[in-house]
């Protein structure tokens, strides 16, 4: 007879010796398992990442999900540079993108609250700066992506063919073009620098977790820094040439006929955005010829081959 509350061991049967049960057998353990036979244990399902529509469209996650270690000096420098460029871009965006012609300006006018358009415009610029700031500090690509989109969206407007800045007026056409190119270059550099923050954070994390080993880090970084200076200059020169295509072409025609050159200079079409399009077409046709002739490849081969002697 089993007494209530009595010890569960069997010491009373063996003169003080304690006899405990053996370890439960696997079979017995299986029998004690709870849960229905129809339920599949969670860990029995292998982890398969099914790409989303966006991921399949871009061939991978649009925003990296990697968790970064605290930023090192290089990343901090890039963060600071990105922040500075972002501020300049914010100011320049506000200058070169007037509110007139935008959808929100039209909406404000329609409902009779004109200031609404301006408020939305300002909000977009501030939103772009805010998201960018948070994205840079927290190294979160999602916020950076929103910031890029806002910076681009803010310049979506129906405009007159002529360059017009509502907040600042330049009398000199060249200065106008330079301001426009500076805005475009800053936007591209902002995208590149913030992308660099993410890229180098990933690299730094990989280095510190031992996934990647880096030899001559300084030289690798120096090359990046040099590119950061040279590339925007080149891009700016190409853009200026394209934007000043009217002057270039009239100067060229002027060698043969001054009258024709004058007509070209006063041409409304060449002054308009379609003139820029023509300039772009010609400039990039020249670039295409360079590619077709394999000039970069030949130059590279020459540099590589010239050495063997």
């Amino acid at each position: 007879m089993v007494q209530k509350g009595a010890s569960s061991d069997t010491s009373h049967l063996y003169d003080g010796k304690v006899v405990r049960s053996s370890a439960p057998s696997r079979k017995a353990l299986a029998a004690k398992m709870t849960g229905s036979a129809n339920t599949i244990p969670k860990d029995a399902i292998p982890e398969v990442h099914i790409p989303s529509f966006v991921e399949s469209l871009f061939g991978g996650p649009l925003v990296p999900k990697m968790k970064f270690l605290p930023a090192d000096k290089m990343v901090q420098t890039l963060q600071m540079a990105s922040g500075a460029v972002m501020i300049m871009l914010g100011v320049l965006t506000y200058i070169v993108t007037p509110v007139s012609g935008t959808a929100w300006f039209w909406f404000g006018e329609t409902i009779g609250v004109e200031v609404l358009g301006l408020a939305i415009h300002l909000l977009l610029v501030l939103g772009a700066i805010g998201c960018g700031f948070w994205g840079i500090i927290s190294r979160d690509s999602r916020f950076l992506l929103i910031s890029y989109v806002l910076f681009i969206v803010v310049s979506f407007r129906f405009a007159a063919s002529k360059v017009s800045f509502e907040w600042l007026s330049f009398d000199d056409e060249l200065l106008q073009k330079i301001a426009l190119v500076a805005y475009a270059v800053l936007l591209v550099m902002y995208i590149e620098l913030t992308n660099g923050v993410i890229r180098f954070s990933m690299l730094d994390t990989s280095i510190r977790t031992g996934e990647v080993y880096v030899m001559n880090v300084k030289k690798v970084l120096t090359k990046y820094h040099i590119s950061l200076v040279i590339t925007p200059i080149i891009a700016a020169i190409v853009a200026i040439t394209t934007l000043l295509f009217k002057d270039v072409i009239s100067g060229f025609v002027g060698i043969f006929s001054e009258v024709s050159a004058l007509r070209l200079e006063e041409s409304v079409e060449l002054e308009s955005v379609y003139g820029v399009a023509l300039g772009t077409m010609i400039v990039f046709s020249l670039v295409a010829i360079v590619f077709v002739a394999d000039i970069p490849g030949r130059y590279q081969k020459m540099r590589e081959g010239g050495s063997s002697e």
Binding site: A159, V185, V214, I234, L243
Partner: protein, 439 residues
């Protein structure tokens, strides 16, 4: 030369902004598009983008030289610390990368490793700046957790522009093969500890002269005796030509039958019947060969692979190599194996079967045939049910039903006089063997 996702996005954005700018007659958008395109073009020019596209040939038609001048003068060499290791062993890999070009390059180098290998020390992925006509050595250590034939290589080299917009890749076809043997368990102690000194009839000195390794006695030289067996000190003492006689070893034939059918790989990659079976076969082969027994191996999958009986260390490596390469495939029944090998085995030889005993209706008949011919039959059976159950891939009811079926089969085999051990995943081989033999 390949575009990265970043450059593709930049390109798409540039085109979109350009078209939108023209539609909206917006200078700002067009200018941003032009700057983006210039940015991309400059990066492409710097990365010598046109070298393949301008040739007018398809990618697969290009030679290594055409793959890019910037990568054509890179070479790699690799050295492995060993060509054969046991499971859980480590391998030191030394990779030398040479830049024969006069230009310095920023390279990403990745030495391709088999998926199952784990890096213990160092890294196989290196980002470096390699100076002109310089070389660098990369050292790393990998852990080899699973048996098999493996190849390290190729060496993948990538060169890209500073912004990561375009890259060029090349595979240096430098390959090194190595073999991972199944790990062995030392069975000696377990056998000594057992109550019966010897389980199997192994190498026993039968006190008869004959070819062997142990000294037996001296006798007078008879014409035709090999010169190398003359005992010169005895000749010096006695003045008669004396030769050494050696004791003949009685060597048993031990046959290991390994089930490597597709079903034997049921369970996790590192814990399944085939993995356990190969480890047991390796341990047993090592143990018996160290006792100078003659050991043969038969592995059956979609075909029957056999290693003829032999003795010595060379035989051990032959068996280990076969075990390392055992692949789970096919469904050859055990009876086909026994029918084929029975005529070639000495009567009474111990036969050890390593099988999960699943998905084979001929097992009982095959064991009956073996027992009828008086073969000492031992079956070590790692249960895939346990592996599956431990990995929670099998529900309780399924496990119970299958376990009952398995217990019935094991009882039936025991009834035929075979020693059967239901080998649980956490049990040592020596314990399982002792259990099978009833100690």
């Amino acid at each position: 030369m390949a575009w990265s996702r970043k450059s593709a996005m930049f390109g798409s954005l540039a085109i979109a902004l350009y078209l939108l700018g023209l539609t909206l007659r917006n200078h700002q958008l067009v200018t941003v598009a032009v700057v983006l395109m210039s940015f991309l073009t400059w990066a492409a020019l710097r990365a010598a983008h046109a070298d393949v596209s301008a040739s007018g040939r398809r990618m697969e038609e290009r030679s290594d030289e055409e793959a890019g001048a910037s990568l054509s003068r890179l070479e790699a060499m690799r050295k492995l610390s060993a060509a054969r290791v046991f499971e859980d062993g480590t391998l030191d890999i030394t990779l030398k990368v040479q830049n024969m070009s006069p230009l310095s390059k920023v390279l990403e180098v990745r030495d391709s490793l088999p998926e199952v290998m784990r890096i213990k020390e160092g890294a196989n992925y290196i980002l470096m700046e390699l100076g002109p006509r310089r070389e660098t050595v990369i050292e790393y250590t990998v852990e080899c957790p699973l048996r098999g034939f493996y190849t390290v290589g190729p060496v993948c080299i990538r060169i890209q522009d500073s912004f990561g917009l375009f890259h060029k890749e090349k595979e240096l076809h430098v390959y090194d093969d190595f073999l991972v043997f199944p790990k062995t368990e030392d069975l000696k102690d377990a056998f000594v500890k057992s109550k019966v000194p010897k389980i199997f009839t192994g190498a026993v000195n039968i006190r008869n002269p004959g070819p062997g390794s142990e000294f037996y006695n001296l006798r007078e030289y008879i014409a035709g005796d090999p010169m190398k067996s003359i005992n010169w000190p005895a000749y010096g003492r006695t003045g008669k030509l004396m030769v050494n006689e050696r004791e003949r070893d009685a060597v048993s034939d031990i046959i290991l039958i390994l089930d490597s059918r597709a079903v034997s790989e049921t369970g996790p990659v590192s814990r399944n019947s085939l993995v356990y079976g190969t480890r047991a076969a390796a341990s047993l082969a090592s143990f018996f060969l160290s006792r100078r027994d003659s050991v043969g191996l038969v592995s059956y999958a979609d075909e029957i692979i056999s290693v003829d009986r032999d003795t010595g260390k060379k035989q051990l490596y032959v068996i280990l190599t076969k075990l390392a390469g055992a692949m789970a495939r096919g469904s050859t029944p055990l009876q086909v194996v026994t029918n084929r090998i029975l005529p070639h085995i000495n009567k009474g030889s111990p036969i050890i079967i390593l099988s999960c005993l699943e998905d084979d209706s001929t097992i009982v008949n095959a064991v009956r045939d073996l027992r009828a011919r008086d073969f000492d039959t031992t079956i070590l059976t790692p249960s895939s049910l346990e592996f599956e159950f431990d990995a929670r891939r099998l529900d309780r009811t399924g496990y119970e039903v299958l376990k009952t079926e398995r217990d019935i089969l094991i009882s039936e085999l025991r009834g035929l006089g075979a020693f059967v051990m239901d080998w649980e995943p956490d049990m040592l081989l020596s314990t399982a063997l002792a259990g099978a033999r009833g100690f």
